[in-house]
Structure formats: C-alpha cells, structure tokens
Amino acid sequence: MNREEILVEVSHLKKYFASRPGFFRKRQTVVKAVDDVSFQIHRGETLGLVGESGCGKTTVGRTIIRLYPATAGKIVYAGLDITNFTEKQMFPLRKKIQMIFQDPYASLNARMTVGDIIGEPLDIHGIAAGRQRKEMIMELLNKVGLSPEHASRYPHEFSGGQRQRIGIARAMAVEPEFIICDEPLSALDVSIQAQVVNLLEDLQSKLGLTYLFIAHDLSMVKHISNRIGVMYLGKLVELASSNDLYQNPLHPYTRALLSAIPVPDPDTADQKQRIILEGDVPSPINPPEGCRFRTRCRHARTGCGESTPEMKEVEPGHFVACYLAHDGYSG
C-alpha cells in the first residue's frame, strides 16, 4: 500500500455558522467554527484530531463528509474536488466515505432491527438483496464480534459497546475506504473502549482503511493515530506524528493539553509539573485577534496579537502555528 498517496486533502477550509437575526438579537452573529484549516490524510493512515469542546473538530469531520456545506476552502477526495458537489454527484462517494458517530444511543434507529440497520446501506446503494443481503449482514455482524442471532433484535437490547459495534458494522456494509470516527469511544466504559479500539485497528489492517479519528481523550488518540492534529478555537495549531507530538510538543496549547491528562500512575502524577491554563476558551463569535490562544498563553508577547501565525514546518513533518515555536523559543 502506498503510504504517500494522499486520499483526502483539505485546504483553507472554513465553516461559519450564521445566526439569523431574531426578535431578541437584531444583529446577525457569525460563529467561526472552523477557520482556515488545512491538512492531508494519506491512504491507510489514521489521522487523529483533538481539541476541547467547541474547537471545531466535529465540524471539520462533518464538513468533509458534506453534512455541512463549506463556507470557503477546498476538499479534495482521491483527486476529486468535492467541495461543491451536488447530492447526486456525492452519491457514489457516500459508498467510499462513512462515518461512525459519538453517541451509540442516538445514532441507531430504535424502531429498526439491527439487521435492517446494517442492511439499509446495502439497499440504498443496491449492493445486495434477498439471500445475499442476509448473508452479508451475518458476515458483517461476525466481523464486528456480534453473533448472527442479534440481527433480529432491536438496539435497546444492547449495551453501549455492542451498539457501537452495530454502528461500525453499518459503516462497513458498503466497504468504504475512508471512515470518519467522531468520538466513537467517549460514551463507553474504560474496559469496553479498548475492545472497540482493537476492533477498529483489526478492521484497518485487514481492509486497508483510512481513518479520521476525532476525540478529546488524548491517550486513546495517541494510541490509535499515526499523526495527530491539535485544534483550538477553529484553528489547527499543531500537526505532527503522534510520537513527535507527545515527546516534543511545540505549541504552548499542546503542552498545556498534554500536561492536563491525568496519568494512572501515582509516582508520575506526584512529580508532574502541570501547566494550568487560566480561564475558559473565548467565544468563537468574537475570537481574539491574531493568535487565538494568546489570551491564555503565558508566553504571549506583543507580536502575537498583530497577525495570525501560519502553520509552518519547523521539523520534518512537524507543523506548528506559533511565533515562539517558529523562532525556536528564543527571544
């Protein structure tokens, strides 16, 4: 498999949500959920996307799969510019791009049997019918570690981890090449999370899948991803291979984020010097001028407010958007 082949290329992607002026608020406000984000995903790799709630990571995922139209920028999938594709043009691509959602309780239709949930993509894309359809459903259930008799049951009869498996089986039904996993673990218990992670990894190595893995749990993201992008307030602030990012984080926000993870190891926990960020994330309606992190950054200097730092490759494959990191933290 050619690791160098670029499967998804996102350049200068913007997604703004405008509120309609209403009775109480006469002026229109614009939430810049994603503001000028660029990255590439290579075929066969897992790109992790982390950040706190409201940083725009989910919006990036949903804009790529065209659940939201992009405000500006370009999304190229396997050489095709899909940014302005119509729903009809998108249809054949829906077979190749699938999504696994965060909440396994809300993302499965409670009135359909598990067999029909998994079979629905088969019907829509006209992949199989009759006996063949049934066989495929059984095979998919098997693949995700459920048994064939589960096909006639309803979602409420399953636990969270099992439902997430059903969601994965549904995504696998059309034999996709690219899967967007939007916080697939956050609703699950610790011991079940590891089961689902292993399943996703097995499927990837067997079928050569490409993942965009969106999450806020940094330890799981590190485990599953080849490369990781860190987002803050609609911007990508750092992008590096997962080892680089954890060994040598360059952006002050990444450093704070990593130091904030509670480690299940008493000795490390006692010695750890934690960087505590003051205050909360500013509102994406009125983000700070220049670098968006500067209001909470303890290294902030005058230049940070004047212009927005660009993503720059400071080491091979390690991109960061911070003036200080660009200068190697001197001065």
Partner: protein
C-alpha cells in the same frame, strides 16, 4: 484516629417491575478524617448508589435493604428525614457530575450558596452574602462581588462546577462526596478542578469520597482506592497498592486496558472481554467470573471472601485462597 464514616455490609436494591436489582451488594469501607478516598468502577458498578445511600437521596424505587452507615458515630440508616436534613449540606455535602443540571437556573448563584449558610448556620443574609463571596474567591472565581449576582447560565461549565464546590464547602462539612466531578468537563478545565480539589484537601482538612471511572484522576488525588464491580468492592488498598500491586484480575484488566501515554512503541490494548453482568439475575459466585481469564470451578459456585495482603490492602478473589493453584503473575 477515629473514622468519620463507617459503612458496614451495605445492601441497596432497586425494586423494579422486572424484579430486584441489587445495585449495592455488601459494601464495607471506612473514611478517616482528612482522607481522600477514590471509588472507581464502570457504569452500573454501584459507586453512585453507594454515595446516594450514604446521604439518603436514593431515587424511587431504590431502598437500603441492610447494613449500617455510621457517620461520626451516628447511624444514618432509618434516620428521620428531618434529622437527615440537618446533616445534608451541613456535615455531609455532595457535588454531582453535571454542573449544568444541578444548579437551579431561576436563582442567582449567590442565592444558592447562601441557602445552606442561612439554613444550617443561622447566618443573617448579609453575613451569608459576605461568606458566599469569600467562598467564591476561594474556589478561584474572578470578581466574586459581581459574579455572585449572576445566574448559572452566565457561567461556563468549569465555573459552574466551582460554584457547586463553593456551595458544598460553605458549611465546612466533615465529609464531601464528589460524584464524577470532572467527567462533564474538558481536559484543561478538569485539570483546574483537580488542582482545586487538591488545594482544598490540603487547606480545609475535609474528608473526600471521590467517585470516578477515570483511573488517572484517582492516581492524582486519592490516598486510598476502592474498586467496585457489580455492586461489590472487589479490591481496596492504598494508592500504590492498587496501581503498582493490583491483585484482583479485574483491577489488573482495568489498568491494562488504558494505553500508556509514555509508551513509545505501539502496543495492542488488552481489553477485558465480555460485558458487565446483568444485576437482575445475579448468579452465585464471583460477579467477575464470566469475564475472568483465571476463572476456576469454585468461582462460579461461591462468592470469594477477602484476602488481606496488608492492613490496608485486600481483594476478593479465589486465586489468593491458600488452596488455590499458583499462577504466573501477568503484570
């Protein structure tokens, strides 16, 4: 040292139309003065029900079926509601998981913090107001004089959790129960709250029961750890015992299923197979037996009793019975 709280053989059940659900099944532990105890377990393990039993806030159809809860020498089970109200919020406080729903949206934050002060301590409104401002400052809320007149919706999630903590601590309780206080928060905000709790632990000398599913949080703040599974305590010990010398296969499994953040090499995760048990149909024997990799014949038949490894460290597992076959240690 005399214990603040002693729970002995607590049994709490929910009487549903499907039958009796034994949510807490024979739990015994003690909390010393100034001690921070962590209770960890997955959803449904009975950790929250244990805490709700202590302050007698069990939702219908829950009921304490047996056992004893001694708080400062006083039996809390079957205490008249009037008496209980004098203790709740005064000598025992609780912080809930979700700061969004546990504050009343129609009263100002100040009003809600003042309530226990006026009610339990007999302070005048002016005195209570002064004290409330002090408390808000103590939990790190900037410009408390202004914030005290605001409503919960004007606060962010982390700030609301700070308000909850201020409210819980304003009467200087002997015991604080924190039920998943950081679960609904982002990592960097979680770090702020953890630091705050550590700080309060050192400053106020309040005993804390911290309930969580996050092993990292436990390693950071607790001195003693209780591991619950299916309504029972399967292991308890000092922090270092649990993290460095875990004895019960479930504790080991739990520690193994979280990826090490420092690991340079990618290792496959080792999940605990299977699902947590159905508490409606509890079988005889060890509750963990169907998922245990070391299960023996006796495990299915009889509940294991505790084996003590030191005065603080004990686990309920047949593997440590003198007659059990010796196995290789897997951690």
């Amino acid at each position: 040292m005399k214990n603040i709280l002693e729970v002995k053989d607590l049994h709490t059940s929910f009487f549903t139309h499907l039958g009796e659900v034994k949510a807490v099944n024979g739990v015994s532990f003690a909390v010393g003065p100034g001690e921070v105890i962590g209770i960890v377990g997955e959803s449904g393990s009975g950790k929250s029900v244990t805490s709700l039993s202590i302050i007698n806030l069990l939702p219908f159809p829950g009921k304490i079926v047996g056992g004893s809860i001694l708080f400062a020498g006083k039996e809390l089970i079957n205490l008249p509601e009037k008496e209980m109200q004098k203790i709740r919020g005064n000598e025992i406080s609780i912080i809930f998981q979700d700061p969004m729903t546990s504050l009343n949206p129609v009263f100002t934050v100040g009003n809600q913090i003042m309530e226990p002060l006026v009610r339990h301590r007999g302070l005048s409104r002016d005195e209570a107001r002064q004290k409330a401002i002090e408390m808000l400052a103590m939990v790190g809320i900037p410009s408390p004089e202004k914030r005290i007149n605001q409503y919960p919706h004007e606060f962010s999630g982390g700030m609301r959790q700070r308000v909850m903590i201020a409210m819980a601590l304003c009467c200087r309780p002997k015991l604080l129960i924190a039920d998943e206080p950081t679960t609904a928060l982002d990592v960097t905000i979680q770090a702020q709250i953890i630091e705050l709790m550590k700080d309060l632990r050192d400053k106020t000398g309040t005993s804390i029961i911290l309930i969580t599913h996050d092993l990292g949080v436990v390693a950071e703040v607790c001195s003693r750890v209780i591991v619950m599974y299916a309504g029972s305590i399967i292991e308890q010990g000092n922090r270092r015992d649990i993290f460095y010398r875990p004895r019960h296969p479930y504790t080991r499994g739990l520690l193994r299923s979280v990826p090490g953040i420092r690991a340079k090499q990618k290792e496959r995760l080792k999940p605990i197979d299977g699902q947590p048990p159905d508490l409606l149909n509890t079988a005889a024997g060890c509750p963990f037996y169907p998922r245990c990799e070391h299960a023996m014949l006796i495990c299915a038949e009889e509940r294991p009793s505790y084996t003590e490894f030191s005065s603080a460290h004990k686990a309920a597992c047949w593997l440590y019975h003198p007659l059990a076959p010796r196995v290789e240690r897997s951690i």
